[in-house]
């Protein structure tokens, strides 16, 4: 008798837990009701950018200063100044491929400048600005590797990628026979490659150049096999912020400031 009671009690508790969790999920549908993001930025005098902290050349935390450095950071700083002058302070929050859409939608960040490829799928979830950087997917291998291009990815080869990135999806399409292992971030994926856990690492060439620069015993092979136009993402329905960002991006390009920032980071 006692046993059945305990069982029923536990079953009831777990069902309640499930309903509670499901209920929480409902909140996310209330997007779009909040105040316009652009107005909020002006009111609070700060704009929060979501940037990578683990991606050399684009957004990498410098352990000695604690500052995040890279193309994405310098560009967003210049964009903020172009849009609002010195009035609005740019702030930075770390995002990963996994967290960036969620953090935009719950309002923790205003704009994501984090090596994010513009795709049709993602356009359903967020709004993108114009392309701010044109990258392409490539492969990073140990020097002297048998793998020299995407054609060499056959059954039994292991390709390392990062969870939530377009490159993981692309490689499954372009080399369906190969095994894809996905890691939390680029640092872990590169560590796994160095430890021999896979034959190649795949992501955008711009990011791979950063890794090859860090450890010259690795090289890029086979050129690029996709086009990865990077865009700045904002929460769906904030056309005014998208327009402001596009305008600022254009004037940075016209003034030559954009090239200055780009040449500082990307040498190839």
């Amino acid at each position: 008798m006692f046993k059945t009671k305990t069982f029923v009690k536990m079953a009831v508790v777990s069902i309640m837990a499930a309903i509670f969790l499901a209920g929480c999920g409902g909140d996310k549908d209330s997007k779009g009701n909040s105040k316009d993001v652009l107005a909020q930025i002006k009111e609070h005098k700060k704009i929060v950018f979501g940037v990578k902290n683990d991606t050399r050349l684009f957004g990498l935390k410098n352990p000695s200063t604690g500052e995040v450095e890279g193309f994405d950071i310098d560009l967003s700083k210049a964009l903020a100044e172009e849009m609002f002058g010195k009035d609005v302070k740019p702030e930075y929050v770390e995002v990963t491929s996994k967290t960036r859409v969620g953090l935009l939608n719950n309002g923790k960040v205003d704009a994501v400048v984090a090596t994010m490829t513009i795709t049709e799928e993602r356009k359903k979830e967020v709004d993108f600005t114009d392309v701010y950087f044109q990258a392409g997917q490539s492969l990073l291998v140990k020097k002297g590797s048998k793998i020299q291009s995407i054609k060499d990815l056959k059954q039994g080869t292991k390709v390392l990628a990062v969870k939530g990135s377009t490159s993981a999806i692309n490689i499954r399409e372009k080399a369906p026979e190969t095994t894809v292992l996905e890691y939390e971030n680029y640092a872990e994926a590169f560590t796994a490659l160095k430890a021999g856990k896979g034959d190649a690492l795949t992501t955008d060439d711009a990011i791979l150049y950063g890794m090859a620069e860090e450890d010259p015993s690795f090289e890029l092979v086979g050129g690029t096999f996709t086009e990865e136009p990077y865009g700045i993402a904002v929460k769906k329905g904030n056309q005014e912020l998208v327009d402001a960002l596009n305008k600022a991006l254009k004037s940075l390009k016209d003034s030559g400031k954009y090239d200055e920032i780009k040449n500082k980071w990307i040498k190839n």
Binding site: K3, T6, S14, L21, V101, E125, A168, K197
Partner: protein, 212 residues
């Protein structure tokens, strides 16, 4: 409400993840129980070197985060994610099981060992046939806790591409952008594993109590 299409369209991935989680947890459970019992016996055996080794193991391992141990096993050996994760979990959980079982052994009255030895059993025999069966009965509730923790900790396989339930959840949420609902289903799958385990431990506890 909950988006059940996430569950139905990705059911293969979820089940594959569930399978890996179950296999990894079962292997780690069995191995850590054996290793933990050995360590517990070492810690109380009348040999200084063994005492020292057992204590050093337990103090080192239980004071390192399990995530770090899993990284070490993954990067130091030629293991895949699932094997490295399972080994890491075993090493970690064994330290806690050793402490639980040691407590159980200590709670068996001294007279039991003395009486067993006086009937002519060796120390090892007395330990195996008289002390441990009583000790394990006492420590079933804390062992049950450790095993439930083990199943939950197996979610760390996800960071070393182990292919477990959490890993599949990560990939599904990354693919669909329906993050919250995906993890609700992940949570429910874990509950499917841990609640029967909880009930099983409770049942075993009562059975054992009756035979006393």
């Amino acid at each position: 409400m909950l988006d059940f299409s996430i569950l139905t369209t990705n059911i293969d991935s979820f089940l594959q993840g569930l399978k890996i989680t179950i296999i990894s947890s079962l292997i780690a459970l069995l191995c850590s129980f054996i290793l933990g019992t050995l360590l517990a016996v070492m810690r109380i055996a009348p040999f200084k070197t063994l005492n020292w080794f057992g204590t050093a193991y337990v103090e080192f391992i239980r004071n390192i985060p399990v995530l770090v141990i899993v990284f070490f096993t993954y990067l130091s050996g030629n293991f895949g994610g699932m094997a490295a994760g399972t080994i890491g979990l075993t090493i970690y959980t064994a330290a806690f099981i050793a402490e639980a079982i040691r407590a159980g052994i200590m709670s068996v009255p001294n007279g039991q060992m003395e009486a067993a030895r006086s009937t002519g059993l060796s120390y090892g025999q007395a330990m195996r046939m008289v002390i441990l069966p009583q000790a394990i009965k006492i420590v079933i509730p804390p062992l049950g806790n450790q095993f439930i923790n083990l199943v939950k900790n197996s979610s760390l396989l996800a960071v070393v591409a182990g292919g477990d339930l959490m890993y599949q959840g990560d990939l599904i949420s990354a693919k669909t952008y329906v993050t919250f609902d995906t993890y609700v289903f992940v949570a429910l799958f874990y509950l499917v594993l841990t609640i029967p385990l909880s009930l099983g431990v409770g049942f075993l506890e009562k059975r054992m109590a009756r035979s006393n």
